[in-house]
Amino acid sequence: MKISEGILLAGLAVFSLVLLWGSLDMPYSNPDEQTFGPGFVPLNLSVALLGLVGMAAFKAVAGARRAPRHAPPAAAEGTAGALAAAARTGVLVAAMGMVGVGILGMTVIGVLPALAILLAAVSWRFAGHSPVRSLAVSVVTVLAIYGIFNLWLGIPLI
């Protein structure tokens, strides 16, 4: 099982456990109206999801155990490949974090200013453009967004 799949399945397991716990406090049925209550669907579905996640995890682990035990020792390319993959993952996590910080910034300095900084940072650090070009791209993009969403559609972005 890939690490990313493990994270996804673990997240789904926690999600369904939380919802299962929450749905225990909701009425399962409504005898007065002779129908099911608001707890019916989340309780049943969260149990089913937990079961399927467990099945998927079991299949992945069982599949890994059945894989050939006599694999050749890791070559130099394998180590370099693993390092490159780790670097790419680091870049990705940084990108996600940067977007998160940008959204946090929107609560402090407003949507458009924070967006302008975020877009410039994304263009500079992840698209490989020069700082000047990144700034120009950010300004043009934000101005276009301001014109369409704020001026024309009346959505308050500042």
């Binding site: 799949e5 997240g11 789904l12 002779q34 099911f36 998927a56 790419r88 990705l92 929107m106 009346g154």
Partner: protein, 503 residues
């Protein structure tokens, strides 16, 4: 039929003034742009234009609103195809096939085929609206809660066909989507579920989910792989954008099938257009001789849902005009517009205000033609604009996605939702968990649950209501058939692959 043609001729005559033609054209353009923007769909477009109709003649006002409605359906496909960011649920399936075509350098072709299919779908829906509206509505009123529930479950059963090779993964994401949809107020009892923070009282907005799942996750994937688009230099050769006879031939039968599905399922209130697009896509996947092409730019998989979601527009207008029942969010706002204009929505609308209604229908016919011409002629503009900004696509898409999510209800909560589902979408994509079943479950589960509990209440606790009614029983059998046939064909496919792989 002659009477309908006479009325239609009178309606078209009423809108053939320079003022009304300008209103229809501008409405279509505005609708196209609004539909193309992530986070804004038909309901937003109609709501934005509604104040402009005050003081307009009634026919002109209705032409403005219906023109915007139709335009948003044309526009939704643009961002779906070009940047994998559908603006609303009916455009999701367009992204599944259209975006891979874009990545293969066939984005102009995808836009051309989708424009033609949209036109055919809209035309078919209009023909049904013009000639058969009262007849269709007469049968549609026999559908009750049990039938609607079975229809939603039929839609969910197409997950088997959308599942690809791994049904367990499809079921996992389906259940995940269904659970996500349970947040917020329960339709039947009013009980608030899982409101861990106040913003969750209203549930999780599925448009914010779509923006994250498709738009942001694609950007994260591209950043991880360090992918830079290379669409070539801007070009104005129309040959690159107009589908050839071979492509038109490949798209024609799916387009016609999609038109039928979109019109008749679009009539049903609720998630008519969304269910219809997924059913149309699943049907094409079932019928095709090349299922391996689906998910990688199959023309049939693009043409049919595009015809479906445009055919659903006149379809949704049928119950509005004949019964006063809106068939979608956009038509719900139009119902409000009818009341503001002093018209009486309901069975007598076409009798008491027939000239206004037929003028609106005439406006739709003319608007559909305008939209086809303008969208085909604008394809080079869209593609070349993308070519100009391709080196900066990450910034542009992130900007549009975040602002689109914010514009849903001017709340940063939806922006966070888009980011969370951007991460979820990245993880799903990386591990081949299909997104179609997830979003289908998000949209259909609340409706299915609502109709299910209503049905059990009607039957006073008995489950036999689903098989006692003939239409519901038919849908049960259809659903069972879909699941069985889908599962058997997958098993047959696996066995054939195993035989081929064996030494």
């Amino acid at each position: 039929m002659i009477e309908s043609l006479t009325h239609l001729a009178a309606g078209i005559d009423a809108i053939l003034t320079p003022y009304n033609l300008a209103v229809i054209f501008v409405a279509g353009m505005i609708g196209t742009i609004v539909g193309a923007l992530p986070g804004l769909g038909p309901s937003s477009g109609i709501a934005l234009m509604l104040p402009l109709t005050f003081g307009m003649p009634h026919v002109s006002g209705l032409c403005l609103l219906t023109g915007v409605y139709l335009g948003t359906m044309y526009g939704g496909r643009i961002t779906s195809i070009l940047i994998n960011t559908p603006g609303d649920a009916p455009a999701i399936v367009t992204a599944i096939e259209g975006y891979p075509m874009m990545q293969q350098g066939r984005g102009g072709l995808a836009l051309g085929i989708s424009a033609l299919s949209s036109f055919v779908g809209g035309t078919f829906g209009l023909l049904v609206l013009i000639f058969f509206a009262p007849v269709v509505t007469e049968y549609a009123i026999y559908l009750g809660a049990p039938e609607y529930f079975m229809l939603m479950v039929l839609g969910l059963s197409t997950i088997v066909l959308l599942a690809g090779d791994n049904v367990v993964k499809a079921l996992i994401v389906t259940l995940f989507g269904a659970l996500v949809s349970t947040f917020g107020s329960d339709y039947v009892s009013g009980h608030v579920r899982f409101a861990f923070i106040p913003e969750l009282i209203e549930g999780i907005d599925f448009v914010a989910i779509i923006i994250g799942l498709y738009g942001l996750s694609e950007i994260f994937l591209n950043i991880e792989k360090n992918l830079v688009m290379n669409l070539g230099r801007p070009s104005l050769r129309m040959r690159d954008y107009i589908p050839g006879m071979r492509e038109v031939g490949e798209a024609s039968a799916p387009t016609l099938r999609g038109s039928v599905i979109g019109t008749f399922i679009g009539i049903l209130p609720g998630a008519g257009a969304t269910v219809a697009t997924f059913l149309a896509y699943a049907l094409e996947r079932k019928l095709t001789k090349h299922p391996e092409k689906f998910g990688h730019g199959a023309i049939a998989g693009l043409a049919s849902p595009e015809a479906t979601n445009n055919a659903a527009v006149p379809g949704a207008l049928i119950p509005l005009i004949t019964l006063g029942i809106p068939g979608s969010g956009g038509t719900a706002i139009m119902l409000g517009a009818l009341i503001i204009f002093g018209l009486q929505p309901g069975p007598l609308l076409m009798v008491q205000s027939g000239d206004v209604v037929w003028g609106m229908i005439g406006g739709l016919v003319v608007g559909n033609v305008f939209l086809l011409l303008s969208n085909v002629l604008l394809i080079p503009l869209f593609i070349n604009l993308l070519r100009v900004i391709q080196a900066h696509l990450a910034s542009v898409v992130i900007g549009l996605c975040l602002v689109g999510a914010f514009s849903l209800n001017y709340s940063l909560f939806n922006v966070w939702i888009a980011l969370v589902f951007g991460v979820v979408g990245y993880l799903m994509n990386k591990n081949d968990y299909p997104s179609g079943p997830f979003i289908l479950a998000v949209v259909l589960t609340p409706l299915a649950e609502n109709y299910f509990r209503q049905s059990i209440m009607l039957a006073q606790g008995s489950w036999s209501i689903f098989v006692d009614r003939p239409i519901s029983l038919t849908l049960v059998l259809l659903m069972a058939g879909t699941v069985v046939v889908g599962t058997m064909s997958k098993q047959g496919l696996f066995k054939r692959r195993a035989k081929t792989a064996a030494p």
